[in-house]
């Protein structure tokens, strides 16, 4: 009788504590909370929760989300460790996709070497993964050097609607609208400032022409009037401005070309960001 009474006394307290108390830090609740943080985009806190429970719960999705979190946080080294941990899982092709995207983000300039070394063939089996890999390889060539790839090779992996964009990137890479530093220098040697005008720096070009012209005139005028000292000062100054003008024209063509390169890479970056680096869309939050 006492025993039954004891049970009856204990039971309600159990129910009571169930309704009022929550195990905030249980494995299941950590997972729920991590999923919530993940969907809110708080990847740092989410990955901390996932890491805490992954040893207890073996789950492909959790491993994959950890990889996604590290990728979003730009912690590619951690992401890589996680790829090797789960190469046998069902999601392995998704892991591979992320692995290649991360490799590309880490160094888009040497990514194409995977392709050239033919390392990838042993790991990639699925078509969609291979397609992402080829797209990234094309982009890597555009970032660095075409290495005598044909336009067809570069454009082929892309969707039909993107092919014209990639094709124009290719044309640009093959023949960028550079200005010749040598030509700019020669032009400015013949007519001061004309090299700068050729590059598009009209204000600087006209200024260079006026300054050298004025100093040359002053030197000539003073020599004619037999003011030799003054004449030599103006000649010296004029010579420096003339030299600086040739030098500056060469440099301004170089800077122009640097701008062209910058804008091209900016275009590539923008394209990749719009495509989110060809990352598949994962629907974990709906």
């Amino acid at each position: 009788m006492i025993k039954i009474l004891a049970i009856f006394l204990l039971l309600p307290s159990c129910i009571y504590s169930q309704s009022k108390s929550i195990n905030f830090h249980s494995i299941q609740n950590k997972k729920l909370f991590a999923d919530h943080l993940f969907c809110e985009g708080d990847y740092l806190r989410a990955v901390e929760e996932y890491e805490a429970i992954r040893k207890t719960i073996k789950n492909d999705t959790i491993d994959f989300k950890i990889l996604l979190c590290y990728s979003e946080l730009g912690l590619y080294q951690q992401a890589e460790q996680n790829v090797s941990l789960s190469s046998n899982s069902d999601l392995s092709s998704e892991f591979n996709k992320l692995f290649y995207i991360n490799q590309f983000k880490k160094d888009q300039y040497s990514f194409y070497s995977f392709y050239e070394l033919r390392d990838y063939q042993f790991t990639i089996k699925k078509f969609s993964t291979l397609n992402i890999f080829h797209k990234l390889t094309s982009m890597s060539y555009l970032y660095t050097d075409l290495n005598s790839r044909t336009k067809e090779e570069i454009v082929k992996p892309f969707d039909v609607k993107d092919r014209s964009t990639i094709s124009s990137f290719y044309d640009w890479k093959l023949d960028p609208p550079y200005k010749s530093p040598a030509l700019a220098g020669i032009l400015s040697a013949i007519i001061p400032g004309s090299g700068k005008m050729y590059v598009g720096e009209w204000g600087d070009g006209i200024t260079a022409l006026l300054v050298t012209g004025l100093l040359a005139f002053l030197a000539y005028d003073n020599f004619r009037a037999n003011h030799d000292t003054r004449a030599w000062i103006f000649t010296g100054l004029g010579a420096f401005f003339y030299g600086g003008n040739i030098y500056g024209s060469v440099v301004s063509a170089q800077i122009f070309n640097a701008r062209i390169n910058f804008e091209f890479k900016d275009g590539l970056n923008l394209f990749l960001e719009q495509k989110n680096y060809f990352m598949p869309e994962y629907d974990f939050c709906n």
């Binding site: 004891a6 049970i7 204990l10 504590s17 108390s21 195990n23 905030f24 909370f33």
Partner: protein
Amino acid sequence: MISVTKICFNIILLAGIACNLRAQISSEEQFNYAKNFFDKEKYFDAVTEFKRLLFFDETDQYNFAANKFIGLSYKQGGKFSDAVYHFTLAEKNTGTAHELFETRIEIIKVNIIRRSTGRAFILLDSLQSDETFINKIDEINYWRGWAFIFADDWESASTSFQSIAPDHELKVFADSINNNFYNETFAKVLSIFIPGAGQFYTGEYVSGLISLSWNVLWGYLTIKAFVDDRVFDGFMIGSLLWWRFYTGNLQNAEKFALEKNLEITNDALYYLKNSYTGPKP
């Protein structure tokens, strides 16, 4: 038979005890757990734990307090937009007028410290025009004073503190700072009449002397050239040299005054941050 009952009983008893003893904790305990991180200045972890509380607590009773502490944590981390966002969430969940006032002041304080004082003034005005807070006028004026300090308007700050008490500590402080400032226009006007005088006024004697010397030299040479009828030389020296050093002298007089004033302001702000003991933003 008996033994089976006994075993059953023991299992149920153990389950019952475990039910109570397991890591089940109440929301209050989780709140205190999070608050403990906050008190230890571990603000990142405090935010995590308060967020955990908000996620699991279905009673919504912590929507105000947890969001307030998340806001305070973000503020300590210098993440002001996140702070304002969570203070706003807290504001939506306030139960009392006091809590509402407290949260709004927190939002104002963030706006003061990140120097978006225009926003702070708008919020202070709306608090002042709200009849609920008619008895909080001193506190409103106190924070208005701080907003003026961060807007670098010490005179208005003094007025605000004065309306709390004529000899308010910060009123006296703001007045003393305001008296130390150099007058930029005065410095410039001095240098218009006597090159270098504005620099002397701000205590930059060497620079003042150099400026004065150059102006005397080029002024003398310019005038001499005109007197000697060398009009071209006069124009060249006057326009290329004298004028250059004369305008440079004016720029310097103003620059030194501004620079000295910035130093005075920063010394005052440093004092307020590190030595003033009253409420701070």
